[in-house]
């Protein structure tokens, strides 16, 4: 009997395994699709990313016409006319909304050198 049970088990086990494998595969497939969706959403929402090109040129190149002022602007306020409004801290230094040093045009700067930095 034991043998018979074993035989029966041996007969049913592959079937069960097959069903389990199919189930796993279906589940895996769904998971893969989900993962792809999640991955894509993640890419879209956080990275947006990437057509393989570098996002900006540093230093900027006039011959490529890729420079955009938002590449160097801090998180600045704007007035109703769209002009940049720069706030100063208690020490009189220009800062953006995130506390980063900017010049009075709102460009991100390195305080020591005064160089304009990439956003």
């Amino acid at each position: 009997m034991a043998s018979g049970v074993d035989d029966e088990d041996e007969e049913t086990q592959p079937e069960a395994q097959r069903k389990k494998m199919e189930s796993d595969m279906q589940s895996s497939q769904k998971l893969t699709e989900m993962n792809q969706t999640i991955k894509m959403a993640d890419t879209l929402m956080h990275d947006f990313n990437g057509n393989g090109e570098k996002p900006i040129d540093v230093p900027p190149r006039a011959d490529l016409r890729t420079f955009n002022e938002n590449d160097i602007l801090g998180e600045v306020m704007r007035d109703e006319k769209g002009n940049v409004v720069v706030q100063k801290d208690s020490a009189g230094a220009c800062k953006d909304k995130d506390g980063n040093p900017v010049n009075h045009r709102g460009y991100l700067i390195e305080p020591e050198s005064g160089a304009i930095l990439e956003n």
């Binding site: 990275d47 890729t66 160097i72 769209g82």
Partner: protein
Amino acid sequence: MFAKKELDQNGEIPNPFCFEKFNFNGHNIMGDFDYTEGKPELMKSKQGFFMDKKGRRVNKHGWMVLASQGHIVDVSGRKKFDKAHMQADGDLHKLLNYQGRRYDIKDVMGIFEKDDQSKICPQKSNKGLVDLLGRRVSDKGYLLDASDNVIDGQQRVIFMKCDLKAGEFPKIFPFTVFNLRAILGDFDTNSSGSPILSKGRDGGFIDCQKRTVNVRGYLIDQAGNIIDTRGNLVFDKAILGKDGDIPPVFRTGLLKDDGTVSNMSDLMNEIEKNVGPTTTDDQANRPTKRGQEEGETSMDSQMEDTPANYNLAN
């Protein structure tokens, strides 16, 4: 990005970046859509937000935007336009070409399938790259005529081939600031307002400070390109008029010049007043070579403009 020594006394970045500071490629900030009869099919989320077919947030004009902020971003997620520089309904302002004519950026953009990386997929044909409507396009996705000039959907030339750099044309908005004084030599003018210039050793013109200028009084380098007082390249010689003049849009008061026009509404009113809608006549007058466009624009027909006018005013 810029060393301190490159900045001017007001902290502004050097030419040409200080007036070409709104560069973008229209396709890099446009969502990915299916098209029906040339019209994009926008999708809506359950919450009612517009989405493209990759699930990215777009506004009703199809521009990709940062959720809750409304700023336009590119495919890399980098902000390209602040909401304050957009129209109230989320669209981009009309741009200006070198002649001062207004145009809609979408009118010069082909329509394409995009790949997984959101790059446009132009199709190849016997006439070169084409968009989904079979129109000839550049690798940047702009509509082209047979001479590779950038045209709009009605075949009107918006930018000539020589105006392009790396396939991109300058993105000039009504709020673009341009400092004409930075490229003008130092000279007196005669009674008709023309610059009084001396001849240099090499036969070219020089200003009062012995700097090389062209016949219109603009500072130039050895190749004839227009430079500013700090020596930065401002305009390539190729885009100058046959008399060495700079494109009309930069010398006819259309652009902001540090306080000459007080606000955006004034600017828009000025443009509405000065530049009427483009008519079919424009096509007939379409220039084929740089230098032939002088006298063909609405702005040029209204005023005789030389750098000297600005010099006197200043």
